[in-house]
Amino acid sequence: MSTPKNRPETKPTGTTTRRGAMKTLAAGLGAASLPMWARYSHAQTAEPIKIGFQVHRTGIGAAYGRWYGRTTEAAAKLINDGGGINGRMVEIVAEDDGTDPKRGAEVVEKFANQHGCDIAFGTLFSHVVIGSAPRAGELKMPYFVVSEGHHVASGMLNRYTLQPGITDVKSQVQAMAPFVAQNLGKKVTMVFPDFAFGHDHRDFFTQAIEAQGGEVLAHIAIPPSETSFTKYFPKIPRETEVLYHVMVGPAVLTFVKELGEFFGPARPEMFGFIDSLEAVAIDSPGLEYLEGTYFWEGNPRHAQADQSEHDKFFRAAVGVNDRGASISDPSDVSTYAHMFGCWETLHVIKAGMEASGYAGTQDRAALIEAVEAMTDMPESRAHPQGAKLFNGKTHQVFGHQYISKVTGGKLLRVHTTSIEDTLYPDETDYTTQPF
């Protein structure tokens, strides 16, 4: 059709024309790729299950992304070594979202249209999840996030977005408030990053500590891309009894260091979310002042005396030592309090696909219904962080939280909350939304 009609149809044979060469090349290319697609043509179900993995390779979430990647690879290997899901191997298709909401939505689209993924999975930073989830819903692509934000359970997202592998900030801080009020003090100043995740901390901890008879004296929001922090600290009121800190981004080490320099020897009690120190060694120079301070940990970074066999197995599979650092490079500290979420989520996906007899994209709705039907998840190899309770209506999982005290340069677990401590009334019911 593209050839003009008045053009001679054929050129003398034997000469090489560009058109001819292109044809030959295309045919050759087709022939070369033949085994790739012909391999599965005999049996549709032998094709691998493709899981699109949205990962923070670059941007402010890069340290998390690196460890989310390692954990995901380890979990996928374990699942495949055990025979895969429904007899099919799992293939992880990783794409960098640049820790950027816009890019995140594009990545979800790429999974659907370019890679032909069965489901999407992965990302952590709440603004990326909030930016990507609507697109996943439009594409009718199940989107399993490992993000901690309250946006899933709040009803802000959609039926296709689930968070079955990691607890949300609201339940975490709600479980922390009684400990803080009873053991550390009632006058709290909060320092948190200025985006959705930090706002969850601000809103829910303030509520929770007031319920305990305490109060928050000041809220100090810091942009997550900030690199120098001392200028924010003079806003901390002098009567502060407890400093509550949570920070993310590439400069967390600077953040804690400058906090130490700011306070000197006269610091108030400190309660931090380990996010402020994820991927940072607790024995880094300048952090000595943290001795005696408390941290929330999603999963204790340092192997505890009563370490479970599942935690031991999980560490070995991901390649993490007893201090939560890479076995091959002890200076490469993991994001241990979060990355278990990838492992557990993949196992939930496996269980959901097996329960629904998932065979292909036509079964996506059945997969979501199967996950929604889940409730108790006992502590096991699939759930090394501890037992969990899934709420199918809010698409959110609930679990134990840990509080550790820095003792002799080690994060020693001093308190474990019950799952009941972390529950709150449902705020939405996704199961009423149509697919």
């Binding site: 690199t227 200028k231 924010y232 003079p234 806003k235 590439p250």
Partner: protein, 301 residues
Amino acid sequence: MLASLEGAITAAVLALTAVGLSLVFGVMRVVNIAHGEFFMLGAVIAWWIAHSLGGHPVIGFSVALVAAPLVVGALAVAADMTILKRLNYDPERTIVATIGVLYIIQQMTLMGYGPDARPVEPPFNTRLAIPWVEHGAEGWAMIWPWGLGTTSYKLAVIGAAVVLLCGVWILMSRTRFGLVMRATQADRDMALAFGIPVERVYALVFGLGAALAALAGVLIVPIQQAHYLMGADPLLLSFIVVIIGGLGSLPGTVLAAVLIGMSDGIISVFFSPTLAKILATLLVGLVLVFRPQGLFGAQSE
């Protein structure tokens, strides 16, 4: 007190970075968008040197202090000779070219060094507390409250920046190279006619500008950590400073750096860091409207 100290550090680092930018613009009329990346490279190389040498932090840091600016300067000279020279220093095309250089350096760093922020240990770092007199329950007493303190390293950064800026000033006003540079700045064609190797001067100036940025990067890295995106902030602030101070004017640049740095520190502490940024940008707008040549810039012909 703390506010002005924080401000002084910002000002010190800013002055070094901006002087490099200003120098390059003044002499070469090239707007170097890649300037922030030279700053970043300085920090990254400092990390790399400190990391591979190991041992006491002082060794790594002092080697980095000398080596990083040299390496970055050499790289900039090479960029000048291979790219900017080919464009005949055409103002518009060099802007586009330096944007290209920015991305090349940034993405190469991402590929080689990775996306992580990495710390460099300061060579010395003791917390210096400042006492405060307060009327307490037992009358007036001297207390050592939290918050009032700084570190010896931060003070050293300010000192180092002052020394370096004096060095640049002496170089410009007292040496033959400075004379040649000023001659080139004043009138390129006339300088060429007098036998000044203008192209070599350009290459050296570009290298010097980059080296100053790298030096600022090395000085800041024990406070901030090296990260491949860290060049964006200093670039923006340097432009603000250079525009306010007057493109090509050294004293103007230094004064504007002090103004912006101190106001950033003080406003950040007493109000909010966002307000400080808003005010700085507003100031740029006002300067551009009412005094387009900058506070100290010479009226262009």
